[in-house]
Each structure stands twice: as structure tokens, then as C-alpha cells.
């Protein structure tokens, strides 16, 4: 069963109904996604039927079990050879089960699990009216500052809906890099975007900022989705199909028989160029590449910090996965057209992110711009158009996501009376007051900066090596230069933490529960292991570096 089947399904629709085959779905191979979706639905039912007191525990339990089970399913599939020899396209051509898909799904699930820990943290804020509170609003629907909000807080409400929302988002992200036709891609995009818009809006503190962030994210995201959809429509007009394989064949010129319904448009290069440009634009929006990055700082700053951490890590993984598949499977024939454009995007993303970050005074905004710069570095690997390029991007994403979640988990710990103290000036002298927390954050910053012996360096090296191998030497030079610029502001934070005098009314560092501690510890461990002994993971990424077509 392949792309052609879908195609014929549509063109033979006029024939007698008995000729339609029952769709063949390989449930086993889709199990990671199905488990997560199932758990999300169970989560919705928990919201409906479990008493308020028990919801938190039930939700956390179900989510954690589901993510672990889904990860186990990914590992089982990979062990079964679906990542390499048995890689194929499942679900009637809609979903690819191959190395990159499984690797990225595994990464997303682990990031999701670590993210879940930070979602479930309830020890950072002081108890409100005898109830332990997490980072999310007591009742998201109540107007900030209103009586109903106060009542909700007094009653000890918590927004446990965040857990099913998280699971839905993860489910969408699992499908996104595996999607093998444009419609599945779009559905996955919406499935993971909508929960994220909501999650951004439900911060417990600074609710207006949080809602503002959500609205911005939603509006811009909807805009980007519209572009994506428009691009899909144009590509359909070009190729007469939404299947990746089919479009690739039309691009290559191996399929020339014209669909009579599309005779006027099929094979029209203008459609192809416009369509793929719009589609790639939608994906670049999701990865936060310049010039589609405007939402990043506001959303990162406003969203509840656990959401920011999860989003920064997992969205990037999913979106880069989808971008890779699109460029490597659908548009390799168009390489000479998209490469110069992506060159330019990569260069302005690296430089733009690094330069603007210098002037930031808020730690979350700083990390947002740093994530933009990192998107640029990853793009350098994407551009390599080689197997090395794919595996280096996979490795980079894996390393990056754990550093990111860990770093945001630390950000959530530093608090004063108004909640998280994200203004950089408040971080002065943190190293004197809490050396351990500051040291851990310094490790994350050094990894972001790409200092050797951290995962950041190994990833950066892999990506730049692939880029240089692919002939993009100027890109590598720009890359190292922007790394130097970026290093400046990471180092500035370290200076602030260790060499500045602590302020008398400075923030305190909350003592987290084992949940956040685990998230941070996993981040540190991943940073160091991927930095010192990356061989196993590089091999893994290397084995996973081939897309099924």
C-alpha cells in the first residue's frame, strides 16, 4: 500500500462502491501515538468523573504511565527494525514509520515525560488556603483579579486539564515528524498547536501576560497555519496528490500522466514554488526561525514556565522533524531552489537571535532569543542535504531539548514575592546564595554556548561538520561567529550569578519536590553524557538518519 493507492482511491471514486478497500491500519506500528491519544481521552474522562481531590494524582499517574508506555512502544518498534530495515509507510500512506520518525518520537516522549514532571510540580509556590498549588491558574475561565478567581483559589481549584492538553499536544507532535502526506501534516500541526495555545494562557501568576502571550501565539499561529494550508492547496494543484511520495515523483518528473481534473495546473512550477515556500514558511514559524520568530520572545515570557520549557523543546523537535521530511522526501528535487533561501534564513536566524539576545534583560526572553539562534544552527544541519545532515540534526535536537527543559525548570525555581523572578538583575549573586542551583544553571548555559564537554558542543560540531561536508563553509563561519556572540550573553548571566553582589531583597530559590529535581537532574545528566561520550547516541542518530520514501 503506498501513495499510489490513495491517489487511485480518489480518481476511481466514480466506480461502484464495492471496489473501495477497507483501510488497512497498522495499529501496532502506530501504537506510540495511539497510546498517548488514548491516555489523553482517559484524561478528559477523569476530568469529568473523578472527584476534584483525586484528579491531580489520577492525571499525573495516567500521563506518566502513558508516556512511558508510548516510549516503550517506540523502543520496541526500533528494536524490531522499523527504524532501519523494516521502515515503511503505514496507515494507507499517511504516516511513515522510519528511523527519523522513531528517533524524534522517542525524543518527544522523553521530553514530554520530563516536561510532565515540571507540570506536576506543586512545591514552588506557598500553599494557598491550605492547598498545594502548581504553576497553573486555579480556574482559567475566571477573569484575573475577579471575585470568582479568588473564590476558585480559596476553594483550592487547580487546572488539571493541563495534563490531557499536554498529552494531546504530544500526540500531535508524535505524528507531525512522521506525517507522510500533507493533510496528515496539517492535522498533526493543529492537534499539537491548539493545546499549546491553551496551555500558554493558564499561568497562575501574571495572568494577563500569560493570556496576552496566548492570544499572540494563537493569532500568529493561526496565520501561519493558514499559510501552510494555502501552500498545501497549491501543492495539491501542482501534483494532484497530497502524498509526499507522489509529489516527489512529480517534482522529479517521473510521473507525467496528467490528472484530467487538474490538467490546467498540474506540473506548473509556479504552484510548486509558491506552495512549497508557503509550506516551509509555516514550518519555519513553528521552529521560530527569523523572520518568522516574532512570537517567540513574548510567548516564551508569558507562558507558564513549565509550558515554555516543554514547548521550547518539543515543538522544535517536532517541527524540525517535519521540515526535514518535507525537504528531504518531498522537495529534494527542488534542492537548488530552496537551498539558497534556507541559507539566507539560517544566517539571519543565527545572527539575529544571537545579536538581539544581547540586549535582553529578562531571563525567559533571553532564552527565547537563544532558542532562535539555536534554530539557526540546526538549520545549518538541515541544509546539508545528506544523511549526516539528518543524523546531526536528530542528535542536536535530542541534546537541546533536555538542556532547554532543565534550564526552564531552574528558571521556575528562582522566585520572589511576585512569583518567578525572571528579571536578570534579580539573579545577581545567585551563585553566592545557592551555589548548587547557580552551578547547574551555569552548566546549562555553557551547553547552550557550545562549550566542549557538553552536549551543546557535540551537537554543534555534528551540525557544522555536516554543513561543511555539504559545502556550506561560509555558513559554518557565520555559525561560529554567532556562537561567539551568543557566548557573550550566556557568559553575562554567569557573571551576574557568580561575580555580582547579591541584592538584599533578592529572590529566594524554592526547594522543589523530587519531580522538578528529577527534571533538572535528567537535564544535567543528558548534557554531560551527550557531551563526554556521545558515540552511542551519534550511532543511534546515524542509524536513524534515513527517511523512508
Amino acid at each position: 500500500m503506498s501513495a499510489a493507492a490513495v491517489h487511485s482511491l480518489w480518481t476511481t471514486a466514480a466506480d461502484p462502491i464495492s471496489k473501495i478497500d477497507a483501510p488497512k491500519i497498522e495499529y501496532g506500528q502506530l501504537s506510540p501515538t495511539l497510546i498517548v491519544v488514548g491516555a489523553a481521552l482517559v484524561g478528559v474522562l477523569i476530568e469529568a468523573f473523578v472527584p476534584r481531590k483525586g484528579r491531580y494524582y489520577a492525571q499525573v499517574f495516567v500521563s506518566a504511565v502513558a508516556l512511558c508506555a508510548a516510549f516503550a512502544a517506540v523502543v520496541a518498534l526500533a528494536a524490531d527494525g522499523y527504524g532501519t530495515t523494516k521502515a515503511h509507510i503505514a496507515a494507507m500512506g499517511a504516516v511513515a514509520v522510519d528511523g527519523p520518525a522513531l528517533f524524534l518520537q522517542g525524543t518527544i516522549l522523553l521530553a514530554g515525560l520530563v516536561g510532565l514532571f515540571t507540570f506536576a510540580e506543586r512545591r514552588l509556590d506557598p500553599e494557598a488556603h491550605g492547598n498545594r498549588v502548581d504553576s497553573f491558574a486555579a480556574q482559567a475561565a475566571s477573569v484575573p483579579g475577579s471575585d470568582s478567581e479568588k473564590a476558585a483559589i480559596r476553594a483550592g481549584f487547580t487546572t488539571t486539564e493541563v495534563f490531557p492538553l499536554l498529552l494531546f499536544a504530544i500526540a500531535g507532535m508524535l505524528v507531525f515528524p512522521a506525517a507522510n502526506d500533507l493533510l496528515t501534516l496539517f492535522v498533526a500541526l493543529e492537534v499539537f498547536s491548539l493545546p499549546l495555545y491553551l496551555l500558554c494562557a493558564v499561568a497562575r501568576r501574571k495572568r494577563l501576560m500569560s493570556q496576552e502571550a496566548a492570544v499572540k501565539y494563537f493569532l500568529l499561529g493561526a496565520f501561519a497555519s493558514a499559510f501552510t494550508l494555502f501552500g498545501i492547496a497549491l501543492l495539491y494543484g501542482y501534483a494532484g496528490s497530497v502524498s509526499y511520495a507522489r509529489i516527489a515523483q512529480v517534482v522529479d518528473g517521473t510521473v507525467t500522466n496528467v490528472d484530467p481534473a487538474l490538467a490546467g495546473t498540474m506540473g506548473n512550477d509556479a504552484l510548486l514554488l509558491l506552495g512549497s515556500a508557503l509550506l516551509v514558511m509555516g514550518l519555519l514559524f513553528k521552529v521560530g526561525a527569523v523572520p518568522f520568530h516574532m512570537w517567540t520572545p513574548d510567548v516564551y515570557q508569558g507562558a507558564p514556565t513549565p509550558v515554555t520549557g516543554f514547548m521550547a523543546a518539543a515543538t522544535k523537535v517536532a517541527a524540525f522533524g517535519a521540515l526535514l521530511r518535507l525537504l528531504y522526501v518531498v522537495l529534494p528535487g527542488l534542492r537548488w531552489d530552496w537551498r539558497p533561501v534556507m541559507w539566507a534564513v539560517a544566517i539571519i536566524t543565527m545572527l539575529g537571535g544571537a545579536i538581539v539576545a544581547i540586549t535582553q534583560t529578562d531571563i525567559k526572553r533571553l532564552l527565547a532569543y537563544s532558542s532562535i539562534a539555536h534554530a539557526g544552527f540546526i538549520l545549518a544541519g538541515v541544509i546539508a542535504t545528506s544523511k549526516d545532515g539528518v543524523s546531526s540534526v536528530l542528535f542536536y535536537l535530542a541534546g537541546y531539548s533536555f538542556v532547554t527543559i532543565g534550564a526552564f525548570a531552574v528558571v521556575a525555581l528562582v522566585r520572589d514575592a511576585g512569583g518567578e523572578a525572571t528579571h536578570l538583575s534579580k539573579w545577581a549573586g545567585l551563585g553566592r546564595r545557592s551555589p548548587l542551583v547557580a552551578a547547574v544553571f551555569a552548566v546549562f548555559l555553557l551547553a547552550f554556548a557550545g562549550i566542549p564537554l557538553t552536549s551543546g558542543f557535540a551537537g554543534k560540531f555534528a551540525v557544522f561538520k555536516a554543513a561543511a561536508d555539504g559545502g556550506a563553509v561560509p555558513l559554518v563561519v557565520v555559525g561560529v561567529l554567532s556562537s561567539a556572540i551568543a557566548a557573550f550573553f550566556y557568559i553575562r548571566v554567569i557573571v551576574l550569578m557568580f561575580f555580582s553582589e547579591p541584592r538584599p531583597e533578592g529572590p529566594t530559590v524554592a526547594v522543589p519536590s523530587p519531580l522538578t529535581t528529577t527534571a533538572i537532574a535528567v537535564g544535567v545528566a543528558a548534557t554531560l553524557v551527550l557531551g563526554v561520550a556521545p558515540q552511542y547516541f551519534l550511532d543511534l542518530a546515524n542509524q536513524a538518519g534515513v527517511f523512508v520514501r
Binding site: 561536508d469 557573571v495 561575580f499 556521545p534 558515540q535 551519534l538
Partner: protein
């Protein structure tokens, strides 16, 4: 498999650093003793390396080779030649003195958090730097070298930014600001250098496919690896830039005076006598070996930069009012000599340069540490604040004088031999450059003697009248260094014997022969 001696020499201080950092906050003194013991044990291992090394044996000895990151073509490959052995010995030798000299430099002033442990941190960082410097001397894989060359910046950065002189003319607040400025400047200069080198390292991989010095050299020798001229030159420039920042060579030197001025004397010694040597060492090992043709191509420019460093550093040293800045500029001048010796491409020049690295380490350590003792007594770094010290603290003044005389390369003291070799090596090939470089010696006499005269002689200033002489701990630090200076000045053979075969190898890498004597050429 034999005992991995080279790994052990680097791993011991690394583990020692971890252990020192883990000492509880209240047991400060224990941390100090632990650090001292570890550094002495490392010295013992370095001596074993020195003894086991056979100068006339294979080029790289005590080699170790293990797979590390196959995907990048990286092998964990260590091996030492004579140059590396000499520098490892120097590093291991200086660290115990640095630890001992900095005994009280990191005692906590204020009572911060009970978990704030500056003392443990200080000594742990010193040991961490030692570990990374030693492994950079040992690495025969470019990638392994690069990793530690870069990673070294982080502990060094914390040493500069986190610990400074107690006394400061503008108060504690200003001191902290200036320290952090110096640390950031240090880091940015070196990081930019390192990242540019990273681009070249990646380029080298694209060209050669692996990072092993031996394999690349072999591939070039039997013709399987051909580097285009322009590629080789770009890669050379990428490497050389990083090393020139580290060394530091004019005009990339401006971080050094700030860093040395703001850090405590032992850390200043660590920077200039130990860490910076990695830069000049790497020029010899990596630039000349990997890119011989490009090295020859760049020689004229580098020689000019080296001469500018010599004269410019010395001139600025003459004009300094701050003792530590003066020593920093003097060091820049000396690094000019080292680079000059390396790129003169004569065996005397390169032997002299290697010997110079060792001697400069010892002489600067002696001068700077005594200067540090002096500064800690009076609480000022300004030359003008001193006068007549030799009357109240004769031993201090005497050792200071010997350190100073070594810096100006007085015959009979170790640096003379190396400076002479460098100049002879330069004269035989580039007489004009040799002549200009000689001015550096004259200026050295000027800045050193003027420094001595202004601080030590003349009427006793009231502020220094109660200055105590060197204490026992300080004597233990200074005396061995001075003995070594005199010993190597009279009898440099132990070092030259180890170094010379390695230099011959390097010379054959760049396919240069010493110029024949003038008389023969005239025929």
C-alpha cells in the same frame, strides 16, 4: 596493556579538583592541603613521565589510543614528544608553588551562605586548569586537544573573575567590576579565537577525515591526502589565530594585562606561565606539523608581529605604573621572543623557543609571586606606593631582584640561554629582524631595573616601614624557583637534551634545514 601514565597525569589533578571542591565548607585548611598533596603527586607522576621518556626514541612516546567518538573520527590519542614532556614537567612543577603562594588568597572575607565555599573552589579550579593544560600537551588528536583547549577557559574565567586582590585603590565595588570586566575580556578573546579554530577544525575534518596527527602526517607524506594551497592557508590561519590569542601575540594581546592585573598573583602566574604556553606549544605541534607549507608562507608576517610584540610589549612595560601590568607587558614581549624562535625555522630558534617557554614560566613565576607577596603586604599595586623596601625586607627585595634579573635575561640565569638561542637562530636567517628583536633586551633591562629602583631602593616610605620580610611559606615558594633559575642558567643541558630531538623532527616536518655558515655560502 600498560599503565596509562599520561592519562593518569591528567586525571589525577582532575579527580583532585573534584575532591577538593567536595571538602565541607568548614574544613578550608583540609582543602588546601589536599590540593597541595594532589599537585605534588601530579609532579611525581610528571617526573615519572620525564624519566620514562627516551629523548632518542620514537617521536611520540607513552602513547595511548582508544576509540572515542567514531562518528567524528575522533580517537582519544595521547603521546608526548620532548617539547611536551618539558612543558608537562614545567606545569606540574609550578602548580604546587601556585597553590602554596595562593594559600590565603581565597579565604572567605564575608560570611555568605554556609554553602559558599570560595576556598575549595579556588584550589579546585587551579587543579582543573592543571588537568586540562596537561592533557592539551599530551593530545595527539586535534579534536581532543581542541576540547581541552576550549574547556580550559571556563575554570580560568572563574579564577580571574571570582578571586582578586583584596586591596584595590578604588574600593571593593570597583574591584569587582574591573575583575569581572577582565574575566569577560579574557573569555571573549579566547572564545572567539577558539571558535574560529573550531571552524578550521571542522575544515580539517572535511579535508582529512580524521584528527590524528600521525595519520594526517602519514597521509600527506604518501600522497593520499592532498590539501589545496588555499585550503591549507585558511586552515592554518584558523588554528594560528586561536593560538596567537592565547599566546598572546600583538595585536591580540590586550586581554592579558587586564587579566593579570585583576587576578591574584598566583592566578596571574597560572595564566602567563602555564596556560599561555599551550598557545605557543600548539603553534609548534599543530601549525607547523599540520600545515608546513602554509607556515612557511605566513612566516614573514608572523615574524613581524612577533618583533612588534617584543618591542611594543617592552615599551609599554617601561611606562607602567602598576607592578602586575608591568609584568604582563614584559610577558607579551617574551612571548614575542618565543614566537620568533618558533617561526625563525632554525633548530637553534626552535630549541631556544621551547627552552624559553620553560624558563619564562619559572622566571615569571618567581618575579610575579614575589611581587604578589609585596602587594599583599602593602595593599597596593602601584609602583609609586613603594620605596626603600630593601632596607626593611631584604630577602624579599633580593628575591625580587633575582626574578627581575632573570626576566631581563642576565647571563648566568636560565632565560639568558634561551633568549640567546632564539636570537642566534633568528640572525642566521633573518638578520634584520634579529637586530630589532635585540632592542627588546635593552628595554627589558630598563623596565626591570627601573621597577627595582623605584620600589626597593631609595628612602623608606612610611607605609612600608613596618613591612615584614618573607615568611617561611613564601620562602618555600621562592627559593626552589631561584635555585632552578640559576641551575638551568649554568647547565641547561637536561632540558635541551630532551627538547632537541623533537625540534629536529619539527624542522623536518617543515622541510627546513639550518642555513649553512656564511663563509660557505659566500663561495
Amino acid at each position: 596493556m600498560s599503565f596509562p601514565l599520561l592519562t593518569a597525569t591528567a586525571a589525577l589533578p582532575a579527580l583532585g579538583a573534584v575532591a577538593t571542591a567536595a571538602v565541607p565548607a568548614a574544613r578550608r585548611t583540609a582543602a588546601k592541603w589536599l590540593a597541595l598533596l594532589v599537585s605534588l603527586a601530579t609532579l611525581a607522576l610528571a617526573v615519572v613521565v620525564l624519566v620514562r621518556f627516551d629523548p632518542d626514541g620514537a617521536r611520540y612516546q607513552l602513547t595511548e589510543s582508544h576509540a572515542w567518538i567514531k562518528a567524528f573520527g575522533v580517537r582519544y590519542e595521547l603521546g608526548v614528544d620532548g617539547i611536551a614532556v618539558a612543558l608537562i614537567a614545567l606545569t606540574a612543577l609550578l602548580i604546587p608553588f601556585i597553590v602554596l603562594a595562593g594559600w590565603h588568597d581565597a579565604d572567605p572575607l564575608e560570611t555568605g551562605s554556609r554553602r559558599w565555599r570560595p576556598t575549595q573552589g579556588f584550589f579546585a579550579l587551579i587543579l582543573a586548569v592543571e588537568a586540562m593544560v596537561i592533557i592539551s600537551f599530551e593530545a595527539t588528536d586535534v579534536f581532543v586537544f581542541y576540547i581541552f583547549f576550549e574547556a580550559m577557559l571556563i575554570p580560568m574565567y572563574f579564577l580571574i573573575g571570582g578571586f582578586g586582590d583584596r586591596a584595590h585603590e578604588h574600593g571593593e565595588e570597583a574591584a569587582a567590576t574591573q575583575r569581572s570586566y577582565a574575566a569577560v575580556k579574557f573569555l571573549l578573546y579566547n572564545l572567539v579565537g577558539g571558535l574560529i579554530m573550531l571552524a578550521a577544525v571542522i575544515g580539517l575534518y572535511v579535508v582529512a577525515g580524521n584528527f590524528s596527527l600521525a595519520e594526517i602526517a602519514q597521509a600527506r607524506a604518501n600522497g593520499t591526502l592532498h590539501m589545496a594551497t588555499s585550503t591549507e592557508r585558511w586552515l592554518f590561519l584558523g588554528f594560528f589565530f586561536a593560538f596567537a590569542v592565547k599566546a598572546p601575540l600583538w595585536p591580540l594581546h590586550t586581554w592579558l594585562p587586564n587579566a593579570m592585573q585583576e587576578s591574584t598573583a598566583p592566578v596571574a602566574v597560572l595564566i602567563t606561565a602555564v596556560v599561555d604556553k599551550v598557545g605557543t606549544f600548539a603553534m609548534l605541534r599543530f601549525c607547523l606539523q599540520l600545515f608546513p607549507e602554509a607556515s612557511k608562507w605566513a612566516t614573514p608576517v608572523i615574524l613581524v608581529l612577533a618583533v612588534i610584540s617584543i618591542v611594543y610589549g617592552a615599551l609599554l612595560a617601561v611606562g607602567q605604573r602598576d607592578i602586575k601590568r608591568l609584568v604582563a607587558y614584559a610577558s607579551i614581549s617574551h612571548f614575542g621572543f618565543i614566537v620568533l624562535g618558533i617561526f625563525a625555522m632554525t633548530s637553534q630558534g626552535q630549541s631556544g623557543a621551547t627552552l624559553y617557554m620553560v624558563n619564562h614560566g619559572i622566571s615569571t613565576a618567581a618575579l610575579m609571586l614575589v611581587a604578589g607577596f609585596l602587594i599583599s603586604r602593602r595593599g597596593s599595586r602601584l609602583i609609586a606606593d613603594y620605596g626603600g623596601v630593601q632596607k626593611v625586607a631584604p630577602v624579599l627585595a633580593g628575591t625580587f631582584l633575582i626574578g627581575g634579573l632573570a626576566t631581563l635575561s642576565l647571563p648566568g640565569l636560565a632565560p639568558f640561554v634561551s633568549e640567546f638561542l632564539v636570537l642566534v637562530g633568528t640572525f642566521t636567517r633573518y638578520p634584520a629582524i634579529g637586530v630589532v628583536a635585540t632592542f627588546g633586551i635593552v628595554l627589558a633591562a630598563l623596565y626591570t631595573l627601573v621597577l627595582y629602583q623605584r620600589t626597593m631602593t631609595g628612602p623608606v616610605k612610611p607605609e612600608v616601614s613596618a613591612m615584614p620580610d618573607l615568611r617561611a611559606r613564601e620562602l618555600v615558594v621562592v627559593a626552589p624557583l631561584i635555585v632552578l633559575l640559576i641551575f638551568l642558567g649554568v647547565y641547561p643541558k637536561p632540558v635541551t637534551d630532551i627538547v632537541n630531538p623533537a625540534v629536529k623532527q619539527t624542522m623536518s616536518d617543515v622541510q627546513k634545514k639550518d642555513p649553512k655558515p656564511e663563509v660557505e655560502a659566500a663561495k
